[in-house]
Symmetry: C2
């Protein structure tokens, strides 16, 4: 393991890390920022679908992170700096003390991805979720229940934003994901691959508890607030949970977790 020590926040070797809070929301040429020990652990694990390009960390944390650093592949540079220099590079107070730049995996082909799945498979399909916390939570829950992929439509935010990755506790880096050109295209691809689509909505015809895990299934969720378009709901099987009188519906990631729990594993599934 070879570590390069930096004294200068303007060092061009760490240009990708500069002002990440501001720049996180802009395109990054197929790159992403991974932050914190949990996420870096995932990035450097065999389960990761992403390659690290470099690592940047606080000098004073090298000793306690030696095991993790030992897993950085040969040829991937590790940079270390004092906490103040690190904070200046990142543009904010970087309590977590570890960052990496990673390369997004090549987006799989949607039809090929679905066709290659086993006859028993569950995927999570997401439409119009623009909030990074919710997107991260959706990936976390998909991974927790072993969903085979997270499929997005064109109105979803990028799950590779720093905060979404962090909230997902790294699940974004190990879960196959692809953005379909539209919700219609996503539904069509799922139907063509023989997936039974369960569209989650508070105004559902089928109670979630009546649904069994069987064959190829897709849990489809829309954004909080507007939810899935009425036209989409009208032609799909709608599934939901009875809510206590008049209370706001659940967070979208929580709703997805309930559906995934219902159909993935467990004695009654």
């Amino acid at each position: 393991m070879s570590i390069a020590f930096l004294d200068d926040a303007d060092d061009p070797r760490v240009a990708d890390y500069r002002d990440i809070r501001e720049r996180d929301l802009t395109g990054r040429r197929g790159l992403f920022i991974a932050e914190g020990e949990v996420v870096l652990n995932m990035l450097l694990s065999p389960a990761s679908l992403c390659r690290p390009r470099s690592v940047l960390m606080a000098k004073h944390r090298i000793e306690q992170r030696r095991d993790l650093l030992a897993r950085v592949p040969d040829g991937v540079p590790i940079y270390a700096a004092s906490q103040p220099v690190l904070d200046r590079i990142a543009g904010f107070d970087l309590h977590r003390g570890m960052l990496a730049v990673g390369e997004k995996p090549p987006g799989p082909d949607l039809d090929a991805l679905l066709a290659a799945m086993p006859e028993r498979a569950v995927v999570l399909a997401v439409s119009g979720v623009g909030n990074h916390d919710n997107m991260g939570g959706l990936f976390r829950n998909a991974a927790a229940f072993g969903a085979a992929a997270v499929l997005r439509d064109d109105r979803c935010c990028d799950p590779f934003y720093r905060k979404a990755i962090r909230v997902s506790v790294g699940a974004v880096l190990r879960t196959p994901t692809v953005a379909a050109p539209s919700l219609e295209a996503l539904i069509q691809a799922l139907e063509q691959a023989g997936f039974d689509i369960l569209a989650l909505t508070p105004r559902a015809e089928t109670p979630l508890k009546a649904v069994k895990g069987l064959g190829r299934q897709a849990v489809l969720v829309g954004s909080e607030g507007p939810g899935l378009p009425a036209g989409t709901l009208a032609r799909l099987r709608t599934v939901g949970m009875p809510m206590a009188g008049g209370f706001d519906s659940l967070n979208v990631a929580t709703a997805a977790a309930l559906a995934l729990h219902q159909i993935c594993g467990g004695p009654e599934a």
Copy 2:
């Protein structure tokens, strides 16, 4: 409805709103800050257990919020200011444009609260959750499934912090809640009142799907990471969800939602 217009960020009538971001984490003499339309709607609804003490909002939002303001009780002052003055009062950029100071409800007596519940009742019991997002999510999910109360031990954060209330979409203001002096005292009170305690843990003996909704039941959750103490788990019925191989456990509020969904309402409960 009478509205007082303020030009001066230092006006003593809005001292309770000053620098709320910094002061939010300190005690407030039984008061709390409510933020945003959703939360104020709850504070001013008949379901609320809390009394508003005053309202502060952006001048330019008065027209569009007239219905909500009409529900402010007589004698509760409404203050309005320009956005820049409002931002100076609050100490940060107040996009949501509406604040209120409310009075925390008197904490009910734990034993009396439990004794008064019907023979079929579900409560959520929480130990050691110090994160305001998680606390807010727990209240939101408790309300969504109609849990009768959220009971905390002494190692939980205050749910009346601004951010927890916001994440709860106002559920903190309508859900009976009480802090027990310890987890042991909480468990004892529940057992004395005839509650069957389901202790959630990833290493559980009973799969959640095997649990039925029946009688008086308490879902007990611990903090993310350490979870519930081993000694507590050893003497309670433990319940959990099968997780996909090796992945991090669920967020605590999500885990609670799964358990509440399992035992509250629905055709199979």
